[in-house]
Structures are given as structure tokens and as C-alpha cells.
Symmetry: C2
């Protein structure tokens, strides 16, 4: 029984890792589309999101089956529940990447000057930081590394500070160029989408800590009432 559980767990972990890879791809594709303003990127993004959604359902259903068939307890049970939650957060990150896509589409259609370029916004750097959070959170999960998971929690502040910076720059810009307000708002919403992705990575890191230690760090000291 335990050996069979280990086998199923390995399969589930690998699939979660692969799904994390898809989420990383979706962040990359979304921000690349924002920079190149080529609408074809949106089609590619949609294809990635579809794959993420399929995996989401498949992983969820596999977890249900493992719980029903092997009735794991203690640390094993916590691991499966962590996978169910991580799976949900990854799927919602895919939704957020898609939302970046929609905001980018709007931004392209507004067809104004390239604010991302002219204002030297930190959006690409922010996107890179969020991608790193996802990778580190899943790396922490695969290795059961709570120190790395803790680092992910801390790096959420960095992402938030990028967002604040981008917000300030764009609001100031809006005041001087009322005709560009639509485009600026699109980018504000993209920054918000990226911030939300960082929050999901934070949730994953918290689940990793709970799965490894049984300790619930959500809402606690140093916890992030994020979303």
C-alpha cells in the first residue's frame, strides 16, 4: 500500500511540476505579447491556458481517486491535500495570465504610444520576479524545502513594491495625458494581475510549509493576508 502511494505521489508531483512549467510559460507569453504588441501571442496564450485547465481537472480527479483508494493519513494525507490546493492556485494563475492577455489586447487596440517603453515601467522585471516565485514555490514543494518556501513568502514584498511603483508612475502619467488614460489603466490592471499571481505563489509556499511541517502559517505572524 505504502509503495503504491509513493508511486502515485511521484506521478502527482511530476504533473504539478509540469503544470508549474505551463504557468511559467503563460507568464512569459503574456508579457512578451505586451512588449511586442503582436496579437498572435494571445492565441498561443489561450492554447497554454487550455492545457492548464485540462491538467487541473485531471490532477484533481487523480487526487480524489488516490484518497478514495488508498485513504492516506498524517503526512501523506497532508501532501495530497496540499496538491489539491496547489493545483487550484496554479489553475488560477493560468486565469490571471489570460487576464493579462485580455488587458494586453485592450492595450493593443487602444493603439496609443508605447507606455511600457516610454515610461520604462518595471512590468517585465516584475513578471520575472513572479515567475521566480512560482519556480521556487514548486521547487520547495518537490524537495520539501521549507526554507525556500519561506523565501517565497518574503519575495512577495518585492513584487508588491514593483506594483506600487508601476501604479505611481502610471497615475502621475494619467494626470498629464488624459487622452492616454485607457492605455495607462490597461497597464495598471496588468500590474494587478501579476501581483495576484505572486499572491497565488505565496499560497503555494504556505501549503508547502503546512504539508512538510503540519504547521499552519497562514494568517499568522509574518503571514500574508493576500489576494
Amino acid at each position: 500500500m505504502q509503495r503504491q502511494f509513493e508511486q502515485e505521489l511521484r506521478e502527482l508531483k511530476n504533473r504539478i511540476l509540469a503544470m508549474g512549467g505551463l504557468v511559467e510559460q503563460s507568464i512569459e507569453k503574456a508579457t512578451h505579447t505586451l512588449q511586442t504588441k503582436e496579437k498572435s501571442g494571445l492565441t498561443a496564450l489561450r492554447a497554454i491556458e487550455r492545457k492548464i485547465n485540462e491538467e487541473h481537472i485531471a490532477i484533481d480527479s487523480l487526487c480524489l481517486e488516490v484518497l478514495a483508494r488508498l485513504s492516506p493519513v498524517a503526512a501523506d494525507l497532508r501532501l495530497i491535500l496540499a496538491i489539491i490546493k496547489i493545483n487550484t492556485d496554479l489553475e488560477r494563475m493560468g486565469d490571471q495570465a489570460m487576464n493579462i492577455g485580455y488587458n494586453t489586447e485592450h492595450y493593443i487596440e487602444d493603439g496609443g504610444i508605447d507606455l511600457q517603453e516610454s515610461l520604462k515601467l518595471n512590468l517585465p522585471t516584475m513578471a520575472t520576479a513572479v515567475r521566480k516565485m512560482v519556480r521556487d514555490a514548486l521547487d520547495a514543494f518537490m524537495k520539501g524545502d521549507t526554507v525556500l518556501a519561506q523565501k517565497v513568502l518574503e519575495s512577495d514584498d518585492e513584487v508588491d513594491s514593483y506594483k506600487n511603483n508601476i501604479f505611481d508612475t502610471l497615475v502621475t502619467f494619467m494626470r498629464t495625458k488624459p487622452d492616454q488614460i485607457g492605455s495607462a489603466l490597461d497597464l495598471i490592471l496588468v500590474a494587478r494581475n501579476l501581483e495576484r499571481m505572486g499572491d497565488h505563489a505565496t499560497n503555494i509556499a504556505e501549503d508547502v510549509i503546512f504539508a512538510c511541517t503540519g504547521e499552519d502559517v497562514r494568517h499568522g505572524v509574518g503571514g500574508h493576508g493576500n489576494e
Copy 2:
């Protein structure tokens, strides 16, 4: 064993219902604060969020215990997993209500004219629609009513259309009053927070349908790639 499960399930369902009540309160408190612009509302909001967070952890831990102790299968297992997911969505709705609070705080501090009043924005109506979604979703959960759950999925479109309407009004306003851009942006973000709460209610309705029928309606025809 089955009788004990039924007992635990009843307890869990009642706690989820009570948590839904807290979430409704938080929406009410957040929008009331926006309308009265009295900062004391934020302290009350914080107290509600703290209760939501405590319940979140307690319910999660009770679910884990029930799974470990009673190893439910089939429909019973689906119900417990639905509770775990609904619990997460409710907690994140609490976070969103808190975010409305932060955006409202900013709005009060900006101290401009009362846009909510002068532009006759639909924010209070939108908030009422979102509250109804939460109540209906949990009602559907308590009664195992998939028809009502389906209605919740459909009413998400109404909430989205309120949001679009509010966005359009505020963006148009921003163009004519660049000095009020900060306040207008605060309200745009509040509308976004409410929309996200509607998405969470949608997630809950989907979980209810899955728990009742074993049918996964996420990402499917008529599904909402929300978030």
C-alpha cells in the same frame, strides 16, 4: 461510522454557512464604509476578517481530521473536498473585502468629491448582487440544489456587466477631471475586488455541482474561466 460521518458533516456544513454569513457581513461593512466614508468601518471590517481567518484554519483542520479518521469515499469524499475548496474561496472573499477596505481608505484620504454619489455609480447594487451570489451558492450547497448553483453561475454575467459599466463611467470621468484620477482609480479597483468576489462565488457553485453530481463543470461549455 456512517452516522458519525453524518454528524461531522452537519457540523462542517453549519460552520461553512456561518462563515458565509461573515463574508456577507464583510461585503456589507466594506460597501457601507465606502458610502459613509467613516474610517471606523475599517476597524470593524478588520475584526470580521480576523474571524473569517480563524474559521478558515479551524474548518480546514477539522476536514483533515475527518478524512484521516473516517476515510470517506465516493459522494462523502467529494463533499469533504468541496468543503475544503469552498472554505478557501470564502477566506479569499474575506481578503477581497479587506482589499475593498484598503481601497476605500485610500479613497477617503484622497478626500475629493464623492464620486460614488455624484456619478451615481452602481457599486452598491453590484455589492448586493455579489452578496446574493454568496448566499445562493451556500444555500445551494446546504440543500444540494444544483439548479440554484447553476443560477449562481449565470448571475456572474450580471456582476461582470456592472463592473464594465462602472469602469466605462469612471474612465470617461477621468478624462475630464485629471485631478480626480486617484479617487476614480480607487473605485475602479473596488469594482474589480467585487468582481473577484463574484468569481469566488462562481467557484463555490461549481464545487457544489461537482459534490452533488460528480460532474466537473469547470472549464466546460458555459464554464467561467474566471478569476
